[in-house]
Amino acid sequence: MRLISLLHLFSIVLFSITGAPLIAATYQVSKLSPASSIQQAINISANGDTIIVASGVYYEKNLIINKSVTLIGVGYPIVDGEGKYEVVSIKSNFVKLDGFKVQHSGYATLQDPAGIKIYDAHNVTICNNVLDDTFFGIYAQYAKNCVIKNNRLTSYGKEEQQIGNGIHCWKSDSMQIIGNTVSGHRDGIYFEFVTNSIIWRNISTKNIRYGLHFMFSHNDSYITNIFSKNGAGVAVMFTHGVRMFNNTFEENWGDAAYGLLLKEISDSYIDGNHFKKNTSGIFMEGASRITVKRNTFENNGWAIKIQASCMDVTVTQNNFFGNTFDVATNGSLVLNTFNGNYWDKYDGYDLNRDKIGDIPYHPISMYAMIIEKNPPAMILYRSIMVALLDKTEKILPTLTPENLKDEKPLMKPLRL
């Protein structure tokens, strides 16, 4: 211990001379070593030091990391918040937290205690941790350039009001959320006022509200994530410049569930995603200048619900299979295009063999229009009356918007 302190002193001296720690000290924390709590080790450490924590259970009350240190857990040491405290608070830049098991955070709706919270810091890395039974999981506020990678977050929320979000970022910039697994929280991943960030290869399942909740967060991308079995799917709202590539939205099935809910979104791309077995694949309201391309819509209740408040939405080169309704809208105004998709319900022909159907496809059925106007009419679903109405409408369109059609429907599904 003495030697360590000396070394420590030495590094501080060096640090003060050169402005950078030349020799970063390494501290061991375990139940047997002199520094038996992580907080002690942090208190005696200096910026740039490394603290290695052996396995065991640590009751740190609220562990505050206020120096630029690297904490490495060996064999998943458990940091327990005893159901009362915020478990780990990071209040310094250049902190790395690697390989811990963080559990039993406090529960309070006013302070929002989290498993791991970043306060006003940049270049923080949180990786390979396991969080269990936390109110909020990983919470970042005013954070910048942080990496949240390969963490596993589990919670056991029953009601929306009684649980926080898995990965919660607020007023942050340049965040990287990569390879995390989140379940049982309110929102799996929550972004508000977060810009220039990436959400990549995460799995967000069985959360009570949204798998991903996104508000006022411009110029972000989310790529190759899986969102399944969440209470209401994924919501992206009041944002411009979002790129949504190669994600899977599946089994968001329920009375008020969406695969993807878009509200007041502009200049965004939805490309190469898979929408499977959602009540509504995509629900768009007030969306403009959006490209929906190369997606697969499979076995959804409604593949796309597009309100008349949307404009310049381009839906092209998508595959539609086995959806109860392909497209639904609530008005006759159509400012969007639907050309060049494959629709499994298309029954036209292709005389010149250019693989494009010769007659346009109208993806809106009359019954879909009726339901949009009068939702209780859904009780007539699958009755003979409805089948008759749809057939007559197909022959002589009256109620469905004339302009909503695919001029170049594909004869064969695209390979996606």
Partner: protein
């Protein structure tokens, strides 16, 4: 009474039409289940067909059968038998044979592909629909002597329950769209056995999520044990009421 039931039953079974009906049902059921990629989806498509075919065949076949056996009925009436018993044994014979045809034709494939509660409920609904439309047929047959008129009435009644009623419902929904119609709709759906059985089966399938708020209200009632019992009772009432009325009419009828 049992003797009359036996005679009617054997007479109907010997009739090729019921045999053809059984075969038709089984061909449709098996092909629907093998065409759809999941058997739950098959059940949904089959629901449509059953709601269309079972009432139609039951009502038309029964009406024609009663008119064709008018001489036999007259013969029976001349015997020391109660008129009520004669009419009830006719009903029993018809409903046993048509229910049996449904059970063999559609019940067996459903039980093979969907041996669960939903499948069972669908089979029960099919049987009840057979009974209901036999009863309605007897009502239309007793009301007039004229065969053409009686069959016409039967066809019209089928058309009413299968199509026109839903059209009226749709009309009502649009006329009163400013009002909350979920609860009245529950009562209205009880006025049509075809609608009622369709809704009961639909609510048990995945697609019920599409039904939104209305579906939730319906599920809140029909999804519960007591709601299910009530709806079964309503369907049984749909058998009993037309039957009782036709028995009353037949009792007083001047043959």
């Amino acid at each position: 009474m049992n003797k009359v039931i036996k005679y009617v039953f054997i007479d109907i079974v010997r009739n090729r039409i019921v045999l053809a009906y059984t075969i038709l049902l089984s061909i449709i059921s098996f092909s629907v289940f093998s065409l759809e990629d999941t058997s739950a989806k098959g059940l949904l498509s089959l629901l449509n067909l059953i709601l269309f075919i079972v009432p139609l065949v039951s009502i038309i076949f029964s009406t024609i059968y009663i008119y064709n056996s008018s001489e036999f009925i007259e013969l029976l009436v001349s015997q020391p038998l109660m008129r009520k018993n004669i009419w009830l044994s006719l009903f029993s014979g018809l409903s046993i044979s048509l229910t049996l045809a449904f059970l063999i034709g559609a019940g067996v494939p459903i039980m093979i592909y969907q041996p669960n509660a939903t499948g069972c409920i669908m089979v029960v609904m099919g049987c009840l629909l057979s009974l209901i439309f036999v009863a309605i047929a007897m009502m239309s047959a007793v009301s007039t002597r004229d065969k053409a008129k009686g069959i016409g009435a039967a066809i019209f009644l089928w058309l009413y329950f299968a199509v026109i009623f839903d059209g009226l419902v749709l009309f009502l929904l649009f006329q009163f769209e400013d009002y909350p119609l979920e609860k009245p709709m529950m009562v209205i759906s009880a006025l049509n056995p075809i609608d009622l059985s369709r809704i009961i089966v639909l609510l048990r399938l995945d697609v019920s999520a599409l039904m939104g708020y209305t579906g939730a209200v319906f599920k809140g009632f029909f999804g519960t044990q007591s709601g299910f019992v009530v709806s079964l009772l309503v369907l049984i009432l749909w058998v009993a009421a037309p039957l009782a009325w036709s028995v009353y009419k037949f009792d007083k009828k001047d043959l």
